[in-house]
């Protein structure tokens, strides 16, 4: 847990100054902050992101899984790339529909074995970087609290996708879909 607190403090120390100067949106480093539950990058993950036009946004996340939940402490750093598809309105809410790819790195697990590592270098491929391909919906109120939104994502990672491509007759990728829930706060 100390690792989580330390990294969150470092993360906030680095990123919060970059989100200041609210009146100078065009120069601002980040447009929003997000908190995410699950989605393969941690029990809780926090990230900042910037929109590039109305189609693409990039987020940088730090995620953490405590030992009590993961069996071992796990930390991840990830880059989430969201590509907006379309928008709709429903019951006084606005929904953004998007797809994305989350490329994440799990620290200190660079294809090491958990009990020893006396194998030669390059014997195993790098195993600590994964990609998660997902669909997402971001829902916000049309009137009050326009800066706040909740998002839901569902996707499959590169292992499941590869195994499905190679074994499409026997593997159903939906059985291994991973879900995420999150909260987003826009600085605008």
């Amino acid at each position: 847990m100390n690792i989580l607190i330390f990294n969150l403090l470092v993360f906030l120390f680095i990123t919060l100054p970059l989100t200041s100067h609210a009146n100078e949106a065009q120069y601002r480093f980040a447009d929003h902050v997000k908190f995410q539950y699950a989605g393969e990058i941690g029990t809780i993950a926090t990230g900042i992101g910037k929109n590039f036009g109305s189609f693409y946004s990039l987020d940088f996340f730090y995620g953490y899984v405590p030992e009590a939940i993961g069996g071992t402490e796990i930390e991840t750093f990830s880059l989430k790339n969201d590509f907006k598809l379309f928008n709709s309105n429903f019951f006084k809410t606005s929904q953004d529909y998007y797809f994305g790819v989350n490329i994440y790195h799990v620290t200190s697990l660079r294809y090491q074995t958990s009990r020893g590592r006396s194998f030669p270098d390059e014997y195993y491929r790098l195993g600590s970087v994964r990609a998660l391909f997902y669909l997402g919906i971001d829902i916000r109120s049309n009137k009050k609290y326009r800066n706040h939104s909740g998002f839901f994502e569902a996707g499959i990672n590169d292992i499941v996708l590869t195994n499905y491509i190679n074994n499409s007759d026997v593997i159903n990728p939906l059985d291994y879909a991973s879900l995420a829930l999150g909260y987003k706060f826009d600085f605008n």
């Binding site: 958990s114 669909l135 569902a154």
Partner: protein, 261 residues
Amino acid sequence: MSKWIYFIFICCFFACGKFVHSPYASKVSSKKLNSKGLKKIAAIEASHSDNFKVAVISDTHDYYSDLDKQVKYINDRKNEIAFVLHTGDSTNLGLQVEFDMFLEFIDKLKVPFVMVIGNHDMLTNGVDIYKKYFSSKLNFSFSFKQTKFILFNNNNWESTGEIPNLNFVEKELQASSATHNILLAHVQPDDDHRYSQREIDDMKALVDAHGVKLFINGHNHNYGAGTFGSAKRITVGSPVKGKIVILSITNAGITSEHLDF
């Protein structure tokens, strides 16, 4: 229209998916499949004669289509095949999702099953998952009729301590009163990249001293047959080759076949 298609897709994901904290997590529920497999093997022993068959599979990794065919082949012969042995490498990265995919097929087996750990199963946090899913012991043995099967971890690069544990193997052989002793481990015992010549010679001396009949290993994905000391040696090969190894064991000896499935 596209919104509806999108909506249907995401509903399907939501209905089937799970909130995955990390694919690298090792906190999994205990299944103890090897213990269950050994109990089933003990339970069926009385119903078999001294002439019985054993299916051996290995290095199934992500070859799920081929594993599915192997399982169907075995199930079609469930009255002939007493049980199934797996010589390790059921995953590529030792991740839970890979173990779960593997078990999706192994769970369909209609005969008992036990597995020894492979080097890939030991990657990441695979050892912890293997211990929960299969066995807390990486070295174990069992007897069936006139034959003793000794299964042990010989993935020395991925383990700490003295691997393979020759003391364990020797004690099991010394305690054996079986007509046939069969050793089963993942890596070929004469792999001169992994083992020094002294280590290979020590294992060979053990095999010779106790009259081991057969050494079965995986690791190499190509089938192979030869000798190791005085024992016959079989490299099982991966299912991607479309083959399966069937052992026929009688009081007179052990024969093996490498069959199409």
